[in-house]
Amino acid sequence: MNQEVLLMYEKRPKTFVKNLILILFFSIVIVWSTQTMKFNGLNPSGIVISKSILDALAKPNLAWLLNFGTGTSIPRLMLETVAMAFLGTILGAILAVPFAFLSARNITGKVASFLGNTVIGMIRTFPIFILGLMFIRVTGPGPLAGVLTIGISSIGMISKLYVEIIEDIDNGIILALDATGANSFQRIRYGIIPQLTPNFISTAIYRFEINVRNATILSLVGAGGIGFTLTAALAVYRWTDAAAALWGIVIVVLLIEVISNKIRSSLVSGE
């Protein structure tokens, strides 16, 4: 009896050394990374500023924040930001469809899909704010540049998710339809589209959430929306105004998150 136990003991996975090496490796990487921080102490004025901003968060400029009319209105700016994200997402979701179909292995085969995926990957890695600056050259600063930027840049991520959905199509359903004598259009209409549509829509809504944040980022670059107001307020030390802008962002993003989660879960449970 003891023999078997001892044998088993000898067979134990020697993970200790492996783990040690891994930890060592990561420690080195992290220590190496600290080299980037030229830590010259915390600038005291910086702390004062940070504290002012944090304090201001508790009392944001409500006149701006709750102003639904004319003049500097955070709601209006956020609406613009959301509008940018909305239109951009729709643009991207539509444009992504052909890209995705061309890059799905079960539609175009190995080589073409590989190329397609590479192109999609390149679009995805293209820094969104460079794209933004490029579009600003065409449209001038303002939300239209934002729409176009978000539209084109979304193609990357949306296509990638679409491709996963397309490659996941259950062929069994299509075969079953074949067996009942359906023609190709009926196959598409009743077999493929019902499998794709809910997921495509869910993807688009997911992307919309992310794009609202992207729209905020773009607005910092000049593409309309709330970013400019934020930086402008900071530049003239108007903390409560800046705080109002931040609150605007937070409230809207959270609201959209809640709504989109509700819609997506009802999609999944079948509407």
Binding site: M1, N2, E4, V5, L6, M8, Y9, K11, R12, P13, F16
Partner: protein
Amino acid sequence: MIVFNNVSKVYPNGTVALKNVNLKINQGEFVAIIGLSGAGKSTLIKLINKMISVTSGSIVVNQEHVEDLRGKKLRQFRRKMGIVFQSFNLINRTTVVRNVLASRVADMDIVSTLFGIYSRNDQILALEALHKVGILEKAYTRADQLSGGQQQRVALARTLAQRPSVILADEPVASLDPITANQIMKDFKRINQTENITVIANMHHVDMALKYADRVIGINKGEIVFDGPSSQVTEELLKQIYGRDITDEDIMFRDQ
């Protein structure tokens, strides 16, 4: 030896779980506790290792008063008590042997616990425990990849690695199919006999209790209504314990 002296337990919401329970269990006995759900079986077991405390009365285990135990003394006391749960309670993404070794951390320093550094002795101990329940070959498999019966065996091995003097089992086979349940009960029986470890088990299924336990304690509405050898349990007696006729639910093998 476990002694209950006039033990009563009343829960904060007013439920009287146990009323004036008096018991004496000697080392090495195999006791099954039967009764309706909610009769007080679970409460009785949980009182023994102080997962809950008595409202009145006292429990003395191997000359120690359980109600006085606290902190370090309580932990030392618990090391000698193994518990097997109905839902196995294994650590999911970990290997079988590490699950068994988890019962050794009580004696280890915190650094070794953090990094999972177990001594050679502990590892051999764990492997031997696994061998005793017959699943040595699964030692390095992930625990959640095993069947229900195998997982319960791992749980049993975990208690064995504590070198306990008592094993408490809270409905240990209620989640298992009849064949596996029998295997596990046989394991309990064998360990009880070869290692002289006291086994106290809550049993939902009457036939299993009668088949494997030497002694049966029947509880009805918080009071002990029977305490004696399993051979003396008749159907009449069961009716008294359960307060009703025995139904199919109380039996694991339908054709008995």
